[in-house]
């Protein structure tokens, strides 16, 4: 005890020990298992044979799978851009509201989270389904369209579902950045002959980039790995890499290939993240 008191850094380590051990066991260990599995042969009924092979990694780049890979990237990027496009103005609006109203608006933003994500996604199915969905049925009844619109079972449906699901996650960090922004900086910009749009692009936008980066990451990463949304809204026709991975483990019983896909995806994500950080750093990030 006496020793502890004399060495405050020891106390810090003691407090840190619990989360560190927790993360080592429950986060690092599975990651390591996935890494090792990617280089092993598949077992007959799931599991692995302890024989080293590079076949799994090679198979990832098979056009059959690699195309899905690229499509998943495309969907994740489009989702991120749309949530950013919708989320930024929304965050801006909340941040500029009178302080008394801000909390209520943030609260309203969180309300969808009260309902299970699966149920909310199925609700979209009810709306979008090609022949029996509410939107198509209504439009047909009103005679606005002759044929049902292709709203379901395609990339459009997946992107719509992802944008819907991740929008609040984009808004919150941007809101936090904008809310911190000192109003007098904007006044200073206006005072120094900037129009309101110039003041936005030269002051507000660069100072909100940390929020934009955080929001984009929080949307891009889960979108890339999404499997519930494409499984439900893709209608079995349009799938993403997350669906292939889950299928390798649950359906095909090919754990090593599923692991290899996960590993490659994680590395791709890491690279994409690093590029993104590098790119936003250049646009005058506040350090």
């Amino acid at each position: 005890m006496e020793r502890l008191r004399r060495h405050p850094e020891l106390q810090a380590w003691l407090i840190l020990a619990i989360p560190v051990i927790f993360l080592l066991i429950f986060f690092m260990a599975p990651l390591l298992i996935v890494f090792v599995y990617s280089f092993l042969e598949r077992g007959k009924y799931g599991g692995v044979e302890w024989v080293f092979t590079l076949d799994n990694i090679r198979r990832v780049f098979d056009p059959l799978y690699f195309k899905t890979f690229l499509r998943s990237f495309y969907i994740a990027i489009v989702t991120t851009l749309i949530t950013l496009g919708l989320g930024y103005p929304l965050a801006y609006f909340i941040a500029k509201s009178p302080p008394s109203r801000r909390n209520a608006l943030v609260f309203a933003l969180m309300i969808p989270f009260w309902t299970n994500f699966l149920i909310r996604t199925y609700a979209w199915v009810m709306l979008l389904r090609t022949h029996t969905g509410l939107i198509n049925v209504t439009l047909m009844n009103w005679g606005l369209i002759d044929k049902p619109l292709p709203l379901y079972g395609n990339d459009f449906a997946i992107i719509l579902g992802l944008v819907y699901g991740w929008l609040p996650v984009m808004v919150l960090p941007i809101y936090a950045a904008l809310e911190r922004l000192d109003e007098s900086l904007l006044e200073a910009a206006r005072d120094l002959y900037a129009s309101s749009s110039k003041a936005f692009w030269r002051v507000t936008w660069p100072l909100s980039i940390p929020g934009v980066v955080a929001g984009s990451m929080l949307v891009f990463i889960p979108s890339l790995g999404a499997f519930v949304t494409p499984a439900i809204l893709g209608g079995g026709k349009s799938i993403m890499i997350g669906n292939i991975i889950s299928n390798q483990f649950l359906g095909a019983h090919d754990w090593p290939f599923g692991s290899a896909l996960s590993m490659v995806m994680m590395i791709a994500m890491l690279i994409a993240t690093l590029i993104y950080f590098r790119w936003t750093k250049k646009s005058e990030l506040v350090t």
Partner: protein, 367 residues
Amino acid sequence: MSETFAVELQDVVKRFGDVTAVNHVSLQIKEGEFFSLLGPSGCGKTTSLRMIAGFEMPTDGAIYIYGERQGYRPPNKRPVNTVFQNYALFPHMTVAENIAFGMQMQKVPKDEIKRRVDEALAMVRLSNMANRKPKQLSGGQQQRIALARALVNRPKVLLLDEPLGALDLKLRKAMQIELKALQEEVGITFIYVTHDQEEALTMSDRIAVMNNGIVHQVGDPETIYEHPADRFVADFIGETNFIPVKVLSLSPTIEVELGSGEKVTAGWAEEGLAVGDRAVLSIRPEKMDLLELHEAAKLKSNDVARVRGKVAHLVYVGTDTRHSVTLGDGTEVVVRLQNIHIDEEPWEIGEETIVTWNAAHARVLKE
């Protein structure tokens, strides 16, 4: 309008909801003048400044800059620049980028921007800081960059909102002198908002003393200090003794009666007072003197007031000593006596004394 003023406020009113921040203010600020808006917080001085800058629009009245009515003109279209209280330097830009901002917005040619940024940095003696971020500078340095960022645009009028408020006392004193020298050098009209009366007295050509959205008095520092127009100004600027009195006569001489029954004359009485009114007599502590009872008897002049009192306590403050004296009616006044003769016999607590002052220095003000 016979003369064109740098800035003119005509009967300006600003209301926020049901709060009136600025209440029928009219001011005329001359070209090249160092003009201060002085008053306690919430007096409307900052709101007035923000209306000149264009951050707030007047509810009523008109603002002219060089004879041009501003109306709803936005801040970026006004020939004024502001130095903000917290400096409001752009944290994501370097010092040089901060200074260049206004010129970039006005599409000044690049080589001219560079030249003027260098000049501005030299003017505030921070040339070696051009590539630093604002956060890497001290408070005083940030202050000078904020000044350079505004002045580099050569505004017709520079607006300063308590620019020295965040600095420590010593630095503030140094910056006051620097700022005043700079203003004389560049010859730009400065409108300076402060709650610090000493700062206003030190730097200004003229001062407008404000309270509760109203301008109480406009004048040069000496006038404001020596001839306060009303009780608020007398109280807010420097230190003053207020002695409750009753007005006995206003003309040809102004005479009042103290609570003790003693009668004295005064140099000036506020407009609107009538014979028989209750009022206060205002005299600065340094304008008063203390005499021994026998000395006072020798005084013959009618222009010198004599009032009996008793020394209540003494505070030695170096250059002078503050003598608190209780008058016959119980009013306590402060008399500041300079410590010139170290061998002089000091006053003692409880000692009977005569408080005297030159009648011309006493002003009768409304309660």
